[in-house]
């Protein structure tokens, strides 16, 4: 047997972005895979130690382009704990609505990335059309389309618009119509089923052991969701189910994401009905950062996102404004290292199947090396 080593990515349509893979091949079959991270080199974490805590919030959104609000939310939760504030009721609902829209936008972008490698190119433009509606909604609420900086320690940055309820419900109706079309045209399509069924199986016990989170964990049949477990922000006040798969293959993971889009739409519909009409939206915080420690854990679109912030009285810059150390934990590192290796070692994955497996894990490369 002659083994062949081949680089896949970063300039490859099947690679998810600024990461590469070193594949060890026997003919078509992949025997081993090694992840080669991108060029961020933990620069974010180092840069944040030189900057004010409110500037760090703006930087934190850049860690995951596709799902920026959940990174901000976990940063904000950690900061809230250091400042010792509990955000006002209205802000809790606003955070929930923004976070769910972010999940919706992220899942739609994932569908665009995923439909390409499985040769359903018609579905990519569909997903982008639906995402455009969500981005327009973000522009209307936060004034930005991609990075919003809307969630802020102590509450949310701006007050919500007056016609939020009507406008949001209109947007949701349009998006839901498009997602229903995609369900029939793409997710239930026999060609897609044949392409993704039984590819990249992951058992429930292995998913937990290897550190998988989010739709990858739930696709394997483990109903674990931080939103439900910790009931942060307004998630304790709305009613929603946790979709989960059965076999843990690529198709199950895709279907979990599809059903999560409906769940997100349902959560936003309830939240805009329940949100208090009046009341404060943000507590003003002092500029000086008190010493303390905060851990913010949220369920992002890809899985568990954690921010650990340590603030001490020792300030290297001499100003009481910079946090001492910030650490982010993204879900993608586990998915592309331990989980991907496990799948490749235990199953016959060919080069042609590889983009399907990687796509079904929904990687966000910057959160590996941030």
């Amino acid at each position: 047997m002659r083994k062949l080593q081949v680089f896949l990515g970063p300039q490859h349509p099947g690679a998810p972005g600024n990461v590469a893979f070193l594949l060890t091949l026997d003919g078509e079959r992949i025997l081993d895979v090694d992840l080669i991270p991108g060029f961020l080199h933990r620069g974010f974490e180092k840069m944040m130690e030189y900057r004010r805590w409110d500037m760090d919030l703006v930087m934190s959104a850049r860690i995951c382009v596709e799902d920026p609000d959940h990174v901000e939310l976990s940063y904000t939760h950690a900061m809230d704990q250091i400042f010792g504030v509990d955000p006002p009721e209205r802000a809790k609902y606003a955070r929930t609505i923004v976070a769910e829209f972010s999940r919706l936008a992220s899942h739609l972008l994932w569908m665009m990335h995923f439909a390409g490698p499985v040769a359903a190119r018609y579905a990519t433009s569909w997903a982008i059309a639906a995402r455009e509606e969500v981005l327009k909604w973000f522009d209307y609420v936060a004034g930005h389309r991609i990075y919003h900086h809307y969630i802020y320690p102590g509450g949310v940055r701006w007050n919500l618009p007056k016609d939020l309820k009507e406008r949001t419900l209109q947007v949701l109706d349009r998006v839901e119509g498009l997602v229903r079309d995609m369900e029939r045209g793409f997710f239930l399509h026999p060609v897609f089923q044949r392409r993704a069924r039984d590819v990249g199986r992951l058992k429930a016990s292995d998913a937990v052991r290897l550190g998988a989170t989010g739709p990858v964990l739930r696709g394997s049949g483990v109903a674990h969701d931080i939103r439900k477990a910790l009931k942060y922000d307004a998630y304790g006040m709305v009613d929603f189910e946790i979709p989960k798969g059965e076999y843990g293959d690529a198709y199950d993971r895709a279907m979990v994401r599809l059903r999560e889009m409906y769940v997100s739409i349902g959560i936003i519909r309830q939240a805009v009905q329940q949100i208090p009409e009046e009341g404060p939206y943000r507590w003003r915080l002092p500029m000086a950062l008190p010493p303390g420690e905060g851990v913010g854990r949220v369920e992002s679109a890809r899985g568990e996102f954690m921010t650990h912030i340590v603030s001490t009285t020792e300030k290297p810059g001499g100003r009481p404004l910079e946090p001492y150390r910030i650490k982010f934990r993204g879900p993608t590192m586990a998915h592309l290292t331990t989980v991907l290796k496990h799948i490749v070692h235990n199953e016959e994955i060919t080069v042609a199947d590889f983009p399907v497996v990687v796509g079904s894990l929904d990687p966000c490369p910057p959160d590996i090396d941030r």
Binding site: G211, L230, V295
Partner: protein, 157 residues
Amino acid sequence: MKGADTGRRIEVEVEPSQLRERLRRALEEGYDHFIGINVVDYPRAGVMEVYYFVESVQRGGELLVVKLRVPRENPALDSVSDIYPLAEYQEIEGHEFFGLDFRGNGSLRKWILDENWEGPPPLRKDVDTRKFVLETYYGGQRYERPKQEKSLQEVVE
């Protein structure tokens, strides 16, 4: 139990020699989901604090934080990658960014910094990465934009 909101956690402090035993017991107690390792460097006190975050799926996401201190001069501790597989990669990270030595982890190497950084572990507090990069890669010169001679209006005309 410590912390509030999403940061509620059980925090235990152990000696470096008890780490493996404590985490093995944690796995038996149901903390089956490894989240990550964080390292905080304190050059003035001469120590590094290492935090292990482990979560329990069966107990509704309960978080356990195992915390320990290692001396900065000889930062060596035992690897737990055989107890939690994901720890293997988190330990590589601690090795390349803080210079920690995880005994028993066979794959310690430059991974994220591979071929792109020849120097001290960059996330240590006493390493000024900006100064290091300017001196090593830019010859001590700051990269400056060339001064614009003409205004944009003149260029267009």
